[in-house]
């Protein structure tokens, strides 16, 4: 079967008007403006099969949202090929958006002043969903997302977590086969994050909805995604499973130690100090070189320790390293 989404060599540039700071700069800007080209997408290629759940990650400004907006037919790219369900999103926008659902975590698609249920009914009319289909979809979503008590509340009075649950339902009333989630857990508390994750997982596993999820939350990725695409400065840096990503960048793990005193210098032959702030020291180590148990034993024997725990470096660090290695490789190539 052909992939649901095919992207090849997608490029999107923005022009940013730059202005020198200060009053003089503003005046100068009236006469002559400097534009700087920003490559939001610089030759992106990937393909997605039906019912995949993909984490699309990268630092701010890497081009995640731009990709989602191109795939959902909102933005027109400068060059490259893109087919979603055998359609070119921006050329057949109206037919295309009928089959996709989109949630932008930072904004709501619900009508601010209307009760939630009225937003749902509006969306039913907008997507021309039959009453029968609407009813079954609505009832199912209400049950899954526990929305019953929220239906008559105006959207502006909902908490962020409640609103996000309603937004998810709103994006799915027309039973799309692909769902784009742009930072759906941003700003949510732990309980709401879990609710969103469980729901997305269930949607993907039991209904076979393809999900493309952009996020900064590593836990989202770990809980949900089979496959991760990392993007940085408009280029794909890595495309594979989470384990592959970690293996490729570094096997490093972190041992975080809370010391009893602040003025102690921590040293260990098998670990490097990532950070040292007050009581807290972050040691980076390679688990193949030294086992966590061994390192912990050594550290606790040598220093007065109040607390300690082991964690994976956050995704930002991984991505930053990934990007640094990529830049090094590029530099090597030009040097040759």
């Amino acid at each position: 079967m052909a992939p649901q989404i095919v992207v090849e060599g997608l490029t999107k540039r923005y022009w940013i008007a730059e202005r020198s700071p200060g009053l003089l700069g503003s005046v100068r800007g009236l006469i002559r403006r400097h534009h700087r080209e920003l490559r939001a997408l610089d030759g992106i290629s990937f393909s997605v099969e039906r019912a995949e759940l993909i984490g699309y990650i990268g630092p701010n400004g890497a081009g995640k949202s731009t990709t989602v907006k191109v795939l959902s037919g909102i933005l027109v790219p400068d060059s490259g090929r893109c087919q979603v369900l055998d359609r070119v999103p921006w050329q057949q926008r109206i037919a295309h958006v009928r089959d996709i659902g989109v949630v932008f975590g930072q904004r709501t698609q619900l009508w601010w002043d209307l009760p939630v249920i009225e937003s749902f009914e509006l969306l039913r009319d907008i997507y021309r969903v039959t009453h029968q289909r609407y009813k079954s979809a609505k009832d199912e979503l209400i049950a899954l997302l526990d929305l019953e008590s929220l239906l008559d509340v105006p959207v502006r009075q909902l908490s962020l977590g409640q609103r996000m649950r309603c937004d998810l339902a709103a994006a799915l009333l027309h039973a799309p086969s692909i769902l784009f989630l742009d930072e759906p857990t941003i700003g949510l508390d732990a309980v709401s994050k879990l609710a969103v994750r469980d729901f997305v997982k269930q949607l993907n596993r039991s209904r076979g909805v393809t999900v493309i999820l952009t996020t900064h939350d590593m836990d989202d990725i770990e809980a949900l995604c089979d496959r991760i695409i990392v993007i940085g400065s408009g280029k794909i840096l890595c495309d594979g499973t989470l384990a592959e990503l970690r293996a490729r960048v570094s096997r490093e793990r972190w041992l975080i130690v809370d010391l009893a005193q602040t003025d102690v210098q921590v040293n260990d032959p098998d670990a490097s100090i990532v950070r040292h702030e007050g009581h807290r020291v972050c040691l980076g180590f390679d688990p193949q070189q030294v086992s966590p148990a061994e390192l912990i034993a050594r550290v606790t024997a040598r220093y007065a320790v109040r607390d300690l725990f082991v964690e994976n470096p956050p995704i930002e660090t991984i991505v930053a390293r990934l990007y640094a290695t990529q830049a090094d490789e590029a530099a090597m190539k030009t040097a040759k």
Partner: protein
Amino acid sequence: MKPYIAILTARFRTMLQYRAAAVAGLWTQVFFGLVLIMIYEAFYASSDLPQPMTFAEVASYVWLGQALLALLPWNVDTEVRAMVRSGAVAYELCRPLDLYNLWFMRAVAWRTAPTILRAVPMTALAMFVLPWIGLEEWRLQIPSLTTGMAFAVAIVCTLLLSCALTTLMNITLLWTVSADGATVMLTVLVTLFSGMVIPLPLFPDWAQPILMALPFAGLVDLPYRIYSGNIPTSELPRVLAHQIFWTATLVFIGRWLLVRGMRRIVVQGG
């Protein structure tokens, strides 16, 4: 049509919530109406020359202007502007709807809801309260049935013309983001050349052909003069032709611009 009607009614209902603003606006407009009428009364009293409009016609014209002020396309749709600024416009583009039609329908609700809130009390005041307190000459005339019906048809076309202009302004947001420049220019053009400030027949003779050819006359002057009897109902087809021609032209320009705007659209923010 159903999706568009659904959006229209939803917004209409939301906008009807702004009753306090309508009441506040009402008193401002009563005041302005009275001031304008007093100015015209002085003007008519100071001249013996025959004028292109009678004082009674001008009085009706002024009150209609106050009652239907909200119909004037003098600003961009603030909701659309907020969406373009914040990037929420992305959701508008995720709907299986024609964006032009969607924004046009938004404009219809945006213009009609406040108009209805103001027009009803304003008409009651100008038509019945003024004669009751002894200001018979300042009143809004009660039209004959044929005149009333001709006016009703013309004012529907005014609404369409007004919404076509509003939508066109909304589309310029795709280039300017804030549209403040376009708004300032258009506010001046619309209020002056529609006849909202001074009825167009009172402009110099040499300006008449230009004023009548511009789209703005169809917003205020032509329908109001039908109401007041200054333009006989037999002339209605010509008025409608003017309004429909300009509505169609503006819709065409708007659609053309929108296609171009969509290609270069930048969704603001993360």
